[in-house]
């Protein structure tokens, strides 16, 4: 009993908890709200059934506990009336739940044909986003316009992943060789946390996601900025040093950057190993599968930790330990952070 009270109180504390960015209790868009609206009635029905069953156990144990001088029990074998009753009543309750459930499944499954499309590609262990209309490629942080429906068209480059932004909708698998759809919409600008929910190998726990919703003006500005290429650093600048490290330490085997000078842009061949597109890297609030920087850590410190030995931060990371020197790391960070 006390335990139950403690749990309920704890739960209430949780529901109002601003510090739980992955909570399902604070839907921020119509789809998550629809789900939330389905959950609570069922939760309360379940609570009533639970209370009745527990109450019956409790009363039975108190009332009918064997005492000295208690009479023997009447040898009842059952009651067909009761059997029918407790078959029919649950069936009716379930039928009542089934109708809105079925309606919601169909409503929430199909994207609005007018919705804005974003392609989501899962990798071990980060999400890649393509904006086919705007011609943008980015990673880890999905930027969307608030108040607009997004139709995420999803697939995977390797194993199964599961894209989940609790505040915006439930989750959906990313299946290699197949395309799945997920509707997303944030009503207000803001940052929404997400996580890969399907076990996808060694660093599954470090495959996270972030959705940033912007109002329409900010979103347009972001699109314009993303569509512009990155400036090629001028020779002799500290940024140029970093750019040279990028070129010479085999980063280009996996990573792409689109420069204003086309001849400098590199595109990773389709059959090569695919790492995140680093164009406008500095615009992203988080990197390395949306796990860095950690709470209280500066971007520079996080980048440094990452570049020193990626698999130490993210076990099994396909970005290997490149044995970069301290100086190389520092100049690489200067260039990356200038890469807006």
């Amino acid at each position: 009993m006390l335990l139950g009270v403690a749990l309920v109180l704890g739960a209430c504390g949780f529901i109002g908890n601003e510090d739980a960015p992955l909570t399902t209790f604070e839907p921020a868009g119509p789809f998550a709200e629809r789900i939330d609206g389905l959950f609570w009635p069922v939760f309360w029905i379940a609570t009533v059934v639970f209370a009745l069953v527990m109450g019956a156990i409790f009363v039975a144990v108190v009332l009918y506990r064997d005492k000295d001088g208690a009479k023997e029990a009447r040898q009842l074998h059952g009651s067909p009336k009761l059997e029918i009753l407790w078959t029919v009543i649950p069936a009716l309750i379930l039928a009542g739940i089934a109708v809105p459930t079925t309606a919601a499944v169909f409503e929430l499954s199909e994207c609005d044909p007018e919705a804005m499309e974003i392609e989501v590609i899962g990798h071990q262990w980060w999400f890649e986003y393509h904006y086919p209309d705007a011609g943008i490629e980015t990673a880890n942080v999905m930027v969307i316009p608030a108040g607009t429906e997004i139709c995420a068209k999803m697939t995977s480059d390797d194993v199964l992943h599961n894209f989940w932004i609790p505040a915006l909708n439930g989750k959906r698998y990313l299946v290699p060789g197949q395309e799945t759809e997920l509707r997303l919409q944030a009503d207000q600008p803001g940052e929404y946390w997400g996580h890969c929910a399907e076990f996808c190998g060694l660093s599954h726990s470090l495959m996270r996601a972030r959705v940033v919703a912007l109002d329409s003006a900010d979103y347009q500005a972001w699109v314009t900025a993303q569509q512009a290429p990155t400036l090629l650093p001028a020779e002799g600048t500290p940024e140029y040093e970093g750019y040279q490290v990028y070129l010479n330490k085999q980063c280009t085997l996996c990573h792409t950057v689109r420069f204003d000078d086309d001849s400098a842009s590199n595109i990773v061949p389709a059959d090569a190993f695919n790492g995140p597109d680093l164009t406008h890297f500095a615009d992203r609030s988080t990197f390395a599968g949306a796990t860095l920087p950690e709470e209280g850590e500066s971007r520079t410190a996080a980048l440094k930790r990452w570049l020193e030995n990626p698999p130490e931060v993210k076990p099994g990371s396909f970005m290997p330990d490149l044995a970069l020197t301290e100086a190389e790391i520092d100049s690489l960070i200067i260039w990356l952070e200038s890469n807006t």
Partner: protein, 683 residues
């Protein structure tokens, strides 16, 4: 007071003769000894799986903890799930069925005693095979850019930060082995082969015993033991046997496909080769959901035996409980895709599987209400078995209700793959199955030992367990809804998940303490427990007409069953109010039964022990080791060796009669094998 008669030898090899000591256990075909071995082995695996769980909990106590490496964590949750399902709950169910099924239906053994020994030894070697992955297995993540441009592989840092990385050599693809992550490309190394082939061996064991139990129930019942006079545990065992019979072939095929993918490049589940990773999920859950009922129905049977005895009333709605069990099993084959609501199957399929899932709540509810009806107006004796049975009803209700929330498909899109699911199925399988198992262990302990377990320690264990259990698993509901995904090695401190994770870990250690109390209780009660006599609980069913501990022959005189709860009605009449009234000569009746059952009038003929089940089973893991290493000479040699062991043992088996010919007596009471089936079967 003899058991078996002397027999002349008929085979070329001498038959095993020892009735005590090591070889008597290796060669036994006695369902009770086999059940005991199943039980101890399952419990040993329970302890191993529990230690794995505790390591996982230590890792999750703190955000961003680096107690385990990612590799060790993934391996431990894979082995925890695999162990608890295939090496603990399933075999402990087999232990109960083996020991009790013949006793409950008034038989002297199962239909095929040597086949029974075979399934036990296959299980035993399968378990050892699976766990040998900790020694021989290798598990490496894909090499990534290894070899590209001369860059070193991506595992320079080993399994990443943390310790216990040596544990990472065991299977790490999850107990569900989702493809293609558990396939050859993303889980190279041999560990997942040990997993796939280990489960294959364990499935074979269960398949063999399922056939054995089905034939036993339909052919070996005592006179008058009509199907609807069978104790509910016997019924649930029958239902489980059919579930095993129909679901195991599915997983067997799926596992062979995985093995073909991994060993021979078959591409069944590899999208790059036109294979379909979702197909694996369909096959896995088409087995995996019936499997859930394979795990829970024996416990439901146990509870249906315990509640009436300690409420001193018949089971309320006996036939409703039986048919509800069968209905659950039947519906259980039609709901597998509710494990896949997020996989992208069509809305029509999602709605259909959602509705099918809801319907399972109806027979489940019928069972729960009938159990409550059994206690209602009873004369309730709060013994340890009853406490565990009540714990089962209460905790299973929670698990059932959270199960209904999964059938609300859009809700499940939020809940699936989070700790909410972990909470749900632990309420069903730990709060349900494990509480039921403990109820059964306390209830039937006298049949094994002739003694009763300590009530004081038993109640201590119960209260520790129910508190520890709820502290462990109730907060997981909240953790899941707060966004904690499953199978996660680390979580960020900003997620606010840490406080409840601390509570969960404390709960897990309280459960461990409860299990330690149980082990101490078992050990001491076996030696010094109060003697039970024939009928320690004032029980209702015929297994208590056999003396305690159960003699080798079970029944010197097989019971002739006149009605449901036959034993109870030998002791009690009903007065004019319908209340139970002890027969005036009840003590005399009981002592007569004991006297009669302890002293067979003539030697009782029992199946002879045999070496062959052990050796047939021994060859199978040898073959499977060979398959894993088939590209080497050693592997090929192992396959040949294993086939030789199994085949030659099978030939030996086929030349050996179950029972040696005997002419020295004619036993009027001797029963089942020689009696025409019509006399035993109802109608």
């Amino acid at each position: 007071m003899t058991a078996t008669a002397e027999r002349p030898q008929t085979t070329i090899f001498s038959r095993p003769k020892s009735t005590t000591g090591f070889w008597s256990w290796v060669t036994t075909v006695d369902h009770k000894k086999i059940g005991i071995m199943y039980g101890y082995a399952a419990f040993a695996f329970f302890v191993l799986g529990g230690v794995e769980a505790l390591l996982l909990r230590i890792q999750l106590t703190q955000a961003n903890s680096e107690f385990l490496t990612a590799g060790a964590y993934n391996a431990l949750f894979t082995m925890h799930g695999t162990t608890m399902i295939f090496l603990f709950v399933m075999p402990v169910g087999a232990a109960f069925m083996n020991y009790l099924l013949p006793l409950l239906i008034g038989a002297r053994d199962v239909a095929f005693p040597r086949l029974n020994a075979l399934s036990w030894w296959i299980f035993f070697f399968g378990g050892i095979f699976l766990y040998s992955t900790f020694i021989f297995g290798t598990s490496v993540p894909p090499v990534g850019v290894d070899g590209l441009g001369g860059i070193d592989g991506n595992l320079a840092a080993g399994g990443g930060p943390g310790s216990f990385n040596f544990l990472a050599s065991s299977p790490d693809g999850g107990w569900f082995g989702y493809q293609p992550n558990a396939g050859p490309l993303y889980s190279p190394g041999t560990a997942m082969d040990y997993w796939a082939l280990g489960l294959q061996i364990l499935g074979l064991a269960s398949l063999i015993s399922s056939i054995n139990f089905i034939v036993t129930v339909f052919n070996m019942r005592a006179k008058g033991m009509r199907l609807l006079r069978m104790p509910v545990f016997a019924w649930m065992s029958t239902v489980v046997a059919f579930l095993l019979l129909f679901s195991l072939p599915i997983i067997a095929i799926a596992l062979f496909m995985v093995t073909a993918d991994r060993q021979f490049g078959a591409l069944f589940f590899a999208p790059t080769g036109g294979g379909d990773p979702i197909l694996w999920q369909h096959l896995f859950w088409l087995f995996g959901h019936p499997e859930v009922y394979i795990l829970i129905l024996p416990a439901m049977g146990i509870v249906s035996e315990v509640l009436p005895v300690f409420s001193r009333k018949p089971l309320f709605g006996y036939s409703a409980v039986v048919f509800a069990g069968a209905a659950i099993a039947f519906l259980g084959f039609g709901v597998w895709a509710h494990h896949m609501f997020a996989s992208g199957i069509t809305p029509v399929a999602q709605a259909a599987f959602g509705l099918a899932t809801m319907t399972i709540a109806i027979p489940t509810g019928i069972k729960i209400f009938n159990w409550l009806g059994t206690m209602w107006m009873g004369r309730i004796r709060l013994t340890t078995p009853l406490l565990f049975a009540i714990g089962f009803v209460a905790m299973f209700t929670i698990g059932g209700l959270s199960g209904v929330t999964h059938s609300i498909v859009p809700s499940d899109w939020q809940q699936t793959d989070t700790y909410y699911i972990v909470a749900h199925f632990h309420y069903v399988l730990f709060g349900g199955a494990v509480f039921g198992i403990f109820a059964g262990l306390y209830y039937w302990f006298p049949k094994l030992t002739g003694r009763v377990m300590s009530e004081k320690l038993g109640k201590t264990q119960f209260w520790l367990m129910i508190i520890g259990f709820n502290l462990t698993f109730a907060p997981m509901h909240w953790l899941g809804l707060q966004g904690m995904v499953r199978r996660t090695w680390k979580y960020a401190p900003e997620t606010g998940l840490e406080p409840w994770n601390v509570a969960v870990t404390i709960g897990a250690f309280i459960i461990a303490l409860a299990i330690a109390v149980f082990m101490f209780n078992w050990y001491t009660s076996k030696r010094r427990g109060r003697l039970s006599g024939l009928d320690p609980w004032d029980a209702r069913t015929v297994e208590w007409m056999s003396p305690n501990p159960t003699p080798e022959y079970n029944f010197a005189v097989p019971p002739v069953v006149e009605r449901l709860d036959h034993f109870w009605h030998l002791k009690y009449d009903e007065d004019e109010e319908g209340r139970a009234a002890a027969k005036p000569d009840m003590d005399q009746i009981l002592s007569d039964i004991e006297e009669e059952q302890l002293n067979p009038r003539a030697p009782i003929h029992l199946p002879n022990p045999s070496y062959f089940p052990f050796f047939v089973a021994l060859g199978i893991p040898v073959i499977f080791y060979g398959i894993i290493y088939h590209t080497t000479m050693w592997g090929k040699a192992l396959i040949v060796l294993g086939v030789l062991i199994t085949l030659s043992s099978l030939i030996g088996w086929s030349t050996e009669p179950l029972e040696e010919p005997h002419s020295e007596h004619a036993d009027p009471d001797e029963g089942y094998a020689h009696e025409p089936a019509e006399e035993v079967m109802p109608s």
